[in-house]
Subunit: 301 residues, 2 copies
Amino acid sequence: MSLLVTGTIGIDTVETPTGKVDGVLGGSAAYFAVAASLLAPVRLVGVVGDDLPPRFLEVFKNRSIDTAGLEIRRGAKTFQWHGKYLDDINERETLRTDLNVVGEAPPRIPDSFRDSRFLFLANTHPAIQRRFIGQLAGPRLVVCDTMNLWIDGFRDDLLQTLAAVHGVVLNDGEARMLAGEKNLVRAGRAILGLGPQFAVIKKGEHGAMLVTPDELFVLPAIPCADVVDPTGAGDSFAGGMMGYLAATGRTDVEAVKTGLAYGTCIASITIEGYSLDALRAAERQALDARLVQLRNLVKFE
Amino acid sequence: MSLLVTGTIGIDTVETPTGKVDGVLGGSAAYFAVAASLLAPVRLVGVVGDDLPPRFLEVFKNRSIDTAGLEIRRGAKTFQWHGKYLDDINERETLRTDLNVVGEAPPRIPDSFRDSRFLFLANTHPAIQRRFIGQLAGPRLVVCDTMNLWIDGFRDDLLQTLAAVHGVVLNDGEARMLAGEKNLVRAGRAILGLGPQFAVIKKGEHGAMLVTPDELFVLPAIPCADVVDPTGAGDSFAGGMMGYLAATGRTDVEAVKTGLAYGTCIASITIEGYSLDALRAAERQALDARLVQLRNLVKFE
């Protein structure tokens, strides 16, 4: 079934303990779309400035990604992010964020996309996320991401958005902050009390946990001896999860679990290269092989 | 097959965000022995002072724990530890450690225990660990724990011990410190280069990873909404693992994986009470039920 993603497409500068890339493709919707397109057709909604090098958009071509919702706004500048991973590559600091066009009027969902049944709202202002939901005719599954900025400063807006989605994907620190609760199980359950039917808590190198009213499900990350660049791991994780659900047309808990498994596998590919290098080079076959690897990783007699 | 454990039996004072217990039973060998005894008979070797309240030893009675190797040394004082868990209960600080009798001459392995085939050397000075190995007739599987104190200050001694064991169990911080490597997969593999055939890296609330020359195996911890006291989780984890191996008489990698699963389950019981309260109350049936829970926790279509 049709899968729509809204989020950022940006220009990243990334420093790691072993290297640096300057002015490369990034952004939540870019990672999500390429990841999800390994499993299902994707409709991309976002806005960039006319400073974005046209070659950056090549990554969406020759894939099942419909870019009819990608606006290139004249005279505007593209979202930029500069981050640095510390000696422990699981920790990072943001050195600079220039919202640019992302701080202006949001893009519109094209009429041809309004019948989308699966919707992923990557991290942005919760009021804008809500407006996107309202532009769809009748989505079957709406899942949003969020971040500390909105949890801290726009809580009322975020609560309204959480009441309007079926699921939420966020990292462990954000879950604790949103729920005001250190214990992750309790935090997850508190978040369900805000509206969503399920919460997916991403724990970086430690994997991810699914919390539903009746169940807990946990998967470790696939261990990686050579993490090149963790940027986009969380967004491609969400892409894998939503891609699997859209491909199967399912929204039941068992399907969400398998979605987490696909997300785990795709994230493990993303971190093996800078920017979208490893992700864009991956094929469905490699993803399926990694799913076998994940099954074996947690399998005991 | 016969399982022998050497380690501390101590008097703990533990503070958590929600409570405090003062002067309760603790120590690596106490947690290990009670945990392992759910699966296999255990031979306990350790030394305490004559200040240890006799009721503390009640925990070993009416279980398959042979205390012939437990020395009560006259005029000596028992090992004491005072720890405090922080607001995030996964972090703790040690407020005081009094080695007392543990800093004096180590206990001897009784003649009747010398034919033990499975040996677990809980954390102590690596030279003492090595002497224990030498006292056994021909152990089939020797596994040791260690800690930052020995990694940092007695590295040569520790390297000699690691060259003499089949497996090592240590936490993530210790693995990184021992290997001088931030990445856990690389750290585990570097540790294998020091001698052991396998390394089990404990990650607290995030579970545990098994590293062998050919394989990686990862299990999450069973999520717990009400962690009362994490003390002894790692030692009872090791007890569950070694108890399973001794009970089955196996030392192959698949058995070690199942051992990790049992260890994961027992640790999840231990943290539900202060000191050994929850662990000692557990029965084999409860452990088997938790194994089913763990299987379901990571199961996807």
